[in-house]
C-alpha cells in the first residue's frame, strides 16, 4: 500500500512538472495593449506574484506563465487582427455625446440645433439596445431654483421629441443640473448661449 501511494505520488508530481513546463513555454496569460482610438497615450500595469511590468506602447504585449513570471513580447496590428478578430468584432459601439443649444429662457432649440437633431435621431435609432441620458443646463440668468426647473424641462422636451421620432424610451433618463455645471464660466446673470444646452449621451 505504502509503495503504491508513493509511486502514485511520484507520477502525479511528474505530471505536474510536465504541465508546469508546458505552461512556461506557452504562457498562461497573453496581454496586449492596443492603441487608443483617439491617439491619446495609455498604459497597462501588470502585477503577478513574481513582479510588475508596465506596457505603454501600442501593441506592447506580455506573456505571463502560470508561476507568475512575465515575459515581454510584441504584437502588431496584423497579428491582433489574425488572432482576435472574433473578439474585436463583438465590441459594442462606442458611446457618443451630442450637445444641443436653446433659445434664452425656453425649452426651444436654436435653429442650428434643430438641424443637428437629424443626425442625433438617426444615430439613436440605429443603435442596438441604446441607453440614453439627456442632461439639461442653463446659463446664469435668472434664479437658481427656476434654472433647475428649466434645465430639467429642456432635457424632458428633448426626450419626448426623440421618442415621438421613434427613439426607444425604455432606457432614456433625464436630469437637470440648473446652472451648476457651466460649459463656459461666467458671473451670475450672464446670457451665455453655450451654457443653455442639453447633453445627450448614448451608449
Amino acid at each position: 500500500m505504502q509503495i503504491f501511494l508513493e509511486s502514485t505520488f511520484r507520477f502525479v508530481t511528474l505530471l505536474f512538472v510536465i504541465s508546469t513546463l508546458g505552461a512556461c513555454a506557452t504562457g498562461s496569460d497573453r496581454i496586449v495593449l492596443l492603441p487608443n482610438k483617439d491617439g491619446s497615450p495609455s498604459a497597462l500595469i501588470l502585477k503577478t506574484s513574481k513582479g510588475e511590468k508596465i506596457l505603454d506602447k501600442p501593441y506592447a504585449a506580455a506573456n505571463v506563465a502560470e508561476n507568475g513570471s512575465i515575459k515581454p513580447s510584441e504584437q502588431s496590428a496584423e497579428s491582433v487582427k489574425a488572432n482576435y478578430s472574433d473578439l474585436l468584432s463583438a465590441q459594442p459601439e462606442r458611446p457618443v455625446s451630442y450637445m444641443l443649444y436653446f433659445i434664452s429662457g425656453t425649452d426651444e432649440l436654436t435653429p442650428q440645433s434643430k438641424v443637428m437633431l437629424e443626425p442625433v435621431k438617426a444615430e439613436l435609432k440605429a443603435r442596438a439596445s441604446p441607453e440614453i441620458t439627456a442632461i439639461g443646463h442653463t446659463d446664469t440668468v435668472g434664479k437658481d431654483t427656476d434654472n433647475d426647473i428649466l434645465s430639467r424641462e429642456r432635457a424632458t422636451t428633448m426626450r419626448n421629441l426623440l421618442v415621438t421620432y421613434g427613439v426607444s424610451g425604455e432606457h432614456f433618463a433625464v436630469a437637470g443640473r440648473g446652472e451648476r455645471e457651466l460649459l463656459v464660466q461666467t458671473a451670475d446673470g450672464v446670457d451665455e448661449p453655450r451654457n443653455r444646452r442639453v447633453e445627450i449621451n448614448v451608449r
Binding site: S28, D29, D86, P92, A128, R203
Partner: protein, 152 residues
C-alpha cells in the same frame, strides 16, 4: 470528525456569500450583442443573455464554443468576450455626476477585449482586471487579455 468540520466551514461560506449577494444587486451594464450561446450566472440561477439583458454586480458571463458577447458598462467601458470565456464582475460602482467609482472584474478563462470608460480616467487606481495569475491596472486604455483555462 474532519468531515463535520468541513461541512461547518462550507455552511459558513454559503452564509457569507448569501449576505454578500443581497446587498450587491446593483445594475452595472447591459449586454449589447450576443453570438451563439451566452449565459449570465446570477446567484444560483443561469440566465440566457440577450441584447438588452441587464448585467448586475456579482454576475458571471459565460460564453460557449463559437460564441461572443459585447457589454457596455454604465461608465462607458466596453467589454467583449470571445468563445469559451468566463468573466465575473466582482465590483462596479459609478457615480454619474462625479464620474467616480470602482471596477473589478476577473477573466477566469478565455479572451477579453476592453475599451476603458470614464472610471479609468477619474478613478484609475480603482479599475482592476484579474486573471488567475495576473492583476492588471488600466490607465485609460484599450487592451486584450487571453487566459488559459485552469482545472476546468
Amino acid at each position: 470528525m474532519l468531515a463535520i468540520t468541513k461541512r461547518h466551514w462550507m455552511f459558513g461560506l454559503i452564509m457569507i456569500s448569501t449576505i454578500g449577494g443581497a446587498e450587491a444587486l446593483a445594475e452595472a451594464g447591459m449586454v449589447k450583442s450576443v453570438k451563439g450561446n451566452v449565459t449570465i450566472e446570477r446567484e444560483r440561477a443561469t440566465l440566457t443573455a440577450k441584447p438588452g439583458s441587464l448585467l448586475l454586480v456579482s454576475d458571471t458571463i459565460v460564453t460557449g464554443d463559437n460564441s461572443t458577447v459585447g457589454i457596455t458598462l454604465e461608465d462607458g467601458t466596453l467589454l467583449s468576450a470571445g468563445p469559451k470565456s468566463s468573466l465575473s464582475l466582482n465590483k462596479f460602482l459609478f457615480d454619474n455626476t462625479t464620474n467616480k467609482g470602482a471596477l473589478d472584474a476577473t477573466l477566469k478563462h478565455g479572451t477579453l477585449a476592453v475599451v476603458s470608460g470614464k472610471l479609468s480616467k477619474t478613478s484609475q487606481e480603482a479599475v482592476i482586471y484579474r486573471t488567475p495569475t495576473t492583476i492588471l491596472g488600466a490607465r485609460g486604455t484599450e487592451f486584450l487579455i487571453e487566459t488559459e483555462a485552469k482545472d476546468k
